[in-house]
Symmetry: C3
Subunit: 356 residues, 3 copies
């Protein structure tokens, strides 16, 4: 094959180089090279972290255990177990524990006087507009002004009667004993790219271990006391129980799948996710209303619960590093090799030129 017809393929061009013998410049060159390589590798490693980040496919299931006796105002002593205090919801990556509650029993559809707030009193029917309601209403105004108690009159409303009257949560919290409840968190992760599966209940854990393990001694124990989690998040359970709130359970999987130093263990940490910016807070905590409905002699009744509680959001983060380490290793290495290789191609010029 004639080389002249494939000129591009047969030619090799390289820079003419000057080799300067100088300690100052030599070390400067090397430190610059090192710094640039370091920078590139750091950037790549840093990027990688986030790229892998979304790659974990995770499944979380939780199981709360515990039982407590609580004196509910207007209801009396009552034992609460998990079906009672979990509230009505079964979310995927979070669970809710009721810590405080305002109960309004035996509500029926009917007409009754609205609860008086500072600016809600009326004198005559003219003060009440039929059909009106606003954000603070418990029902639709009928247009009448009726007696709320001996002293005060308020607009009558169509509503679930009697209306919930208590506005601030009981102190101390009715179910503050939830501090001693425990939760078992089951977390399975999968790195699809590596077809690697892992579970936070490790193979070495048996049922005796799980019954006795404690977070204080053993950071891998998958059973947590609610009180411990809140304390690790820097909060006081009894205080938080009053208004409720949100605690994040962060599970971090830091895995290295390289054959010689394989390790892949979860690390648990806890943070309060709401209400930290300022001391004074508007609309603090977390509460919602739900009701249990009954038919009594063909009439629907309900018991209204305003439940304050703590929602625990489980968040799983993960990264793993086998293939990518290899890739980065290779690329950084090949950059070095490339450089070394190119350095062999210099014209061996040795001059003691000074450079300004």
């Amino acid at each position: 094959m004639s080389c002249s017809s494939l000129l591009g393929l047969c030619q090799y061009e390289t820079n003419k180089l000057v080799r300067i013998q100088s300690v100052r410049l030599g070390s400067l060159k090397w430190s610059l090279n090192a710094a640039i390589l370091l920078f590139i590798c750091v950037m790549m490693l840093w990027n990688r972290k986030y790229q892998e980040f979304d790659l974990v496919v995770s499944s979380v299931t939780t199981k709360v255990k515990g039982v407590t006796e609580a004196r509910l105002p207007g209801v009396g002593d009552m034992v609460w177990d998990v079906a009672d205090y979990s509230g009505p919801s079964q979310d995927k990556n979070s669970f809710f524990v009721v810590t405080n509650v305002i109960v309004t029993k035996n509500q029926k559809q009917g007409k009754c006087p609205e609860v008086p707030h500072t600016d809600r009193l009326c004198k005559t029917d003219k003060d009440c507009e039929r059909g009106a309601w606003d954000e603070l209403s418990h029902g639709i105004q009928t247009g009448s002004c009726v007696k709320f108690d001996v002293l005060r009159k308020t607009c009558e409303v169509s509503a679930w009667c009697p209306i919930e009257t208590k506005r601030s949560p009981p102190t101390p919290a009715v179910l503050a004993a939830a501090e001693n409840f425990t939760v078992l968190i089951k977390n399975n992760i999968r790195f699809p790219a590596f077809n690697f599966i892992r579970r936070n209940i490790l193979p070495k854990m048996n049922s005796a271990y799980l019954r006795s393990c404690q977070r204080a001694n053993d950071s891998l124990c998958p059973i947590f006391r609610l009180g411990d989690m809140v304390r690790e998040a820097g909060e006081n359970f009894s205080k938080m129980a009053i208004e409720g709130g949100v605690i994040g359970i962060l599970i971090k999987w830091d895995c290295n799948l390289d054959p010689f130093m394989q390790h892949c263990l979860p690390k648990y940490s806890f943070r309060r996710l709401d209400e930290k910016e300022s001391n004074r807070t508007l609309y603090p905590g977390l509460n919602f209303r739900y009701a249990k409905y009954n038919m009594v002699n063909g009439v629907e009744e309900r018991t209204l619960y305003k439940a304050f509680g703590i929602r625990f959001d489980v968040m799983v983060f993960g990264q793993t590093t086998i293939f990518i380490d290899w890739l980065i290793g290779t690329s950084c290495y090949s950059a070095e090799v490339g450089q070394n290789y190119s350095e062999k191609k210099v014209e061996s010029v040795q001059d003691n030129q000074k450079v300004v």
Copy 2:
């Protein structure tokens, strides 16, 4: 230390350069340099956006307020408050508001004729297969063919009787007044890398502000009228209320933590997330069935609700830019510096060579 023994460290090699005095080439060089730098920086900034994206740790809680009176077919007038219209679920980042409902009262376990659809009529027991059911069934066939009404016979089924008969949602929607309900959205975000926390209820907001603020005048108001959100998503509330749907509430945090121009405020926007590809749609909207159970004289009864409604999904996006800006600044700057630096090392060759 002898330099010859550390040759690699003491040598400095640099390219032999040719300096050409040419306006055309000079400006070409500079614009190429600028373009490449720009490209690199744009790529980095662009990547950064998405990398930071998943870094926000966010917590959302919502609280819907409002009350309405609705005439339910077969039930009568009824006041609905939040415990009634929220449905049975308390999801983490979304809330549901019932806007339309089909109620079937006093269902009991028993046997009754299946509801006739176009192709569900029978003539004799031979047309009915004991144990059979399909997607449209309300129960398990007993094998008998019984009278549904004066004209039609259908297969008898074991089911909750009487069977829900109405198939299409009432028009207009029973709870269309939900348009005027409001929701308070509390969103706390955290950029873990910077240990920076922020809340969408800003420190300057007090309770008087929150009672009166309106999205129309004030884009930071964290209280939203449901109707406004749907309208901003380009939809008609009364229409959407009939079949239900999904509205996305997008909260975008665009934060700059640089000391001199710190700003970090949320921006709210709204989109309909379902049903937009085509005009004609199959299985439109969002509805699900739930039931309230009762024991009546030892027999379980239930009231079945087919609830149509709007699910509001809160999605939080965030990015912040202090450290990375610095890093990018530095790297782009150092690239420039490096280039300038290297340019000082040229052999000062000045020729007026022409280049083709």
Copy 3:
């Protein structure tokens, strides 16, 4: 304008080059160049995938259909429809189907003997501590030791009585027929960057198609039999139904929006997300307790359900490639162009130098 005052702008510096005529070196150069370019483009394409990944805004709604008759121990035959077996929750991207259940009827607040476990028997009141409870308790100990049955005595507890006694789930699963239930999954996605919207119910699908389509023949059918999904995940439904579990429904949107080869279709796959690491498992499956509450003659009763079931988590992944392909194409192309361009500027030196 004098060029000497703008020296930087008018000068152009370029390396002195040596052109070597050598097949070996020439082809080496080209393969190195190609390798580096390939590496850069692969890295960019690879990054892109994940960057787009989090960009999909997706909404999922699901609708389960099916009805079954089940014989509940202690309750009798009962028809279960969707309101019964969905459990109490309506999650955003997942749905739950009860497959097995332990029912404890007519529980009332009261005092009764704790259920005996291996180490829970007592002889006298001294063995019972008033107020005590632990993870396995069903109530708060009263301090008395009472008869559980003819042979055994256990500590009395304040609890919901009678206490749930059965501990392991019925085999075969009570609602194993859920295998034949179907679910319609509606998924809308949006690539905000491209303002592109897509729905998994394609425009060509009509209601006749949806009534008859089957996953076995048609991978785009959006209606799935629960049993098929579990089988595709490599599991046995009847076995899984006993203890419950978590199945992931992965929807992958691989879209190319380039005008000449536009395609954008969903691909469904299924995986079991829990319990795969080892054969022997502690705390297998998925179950939770919920209760239906009733007022009977003014006393609250409840029916406790320990529901075992399968949670189906829908996960949507997506990527699209129009703009970015163009960008990458351009940049890789321009890198080539730049290189070619720079190669035109060499001093045409042709020497046959040998290089060590």
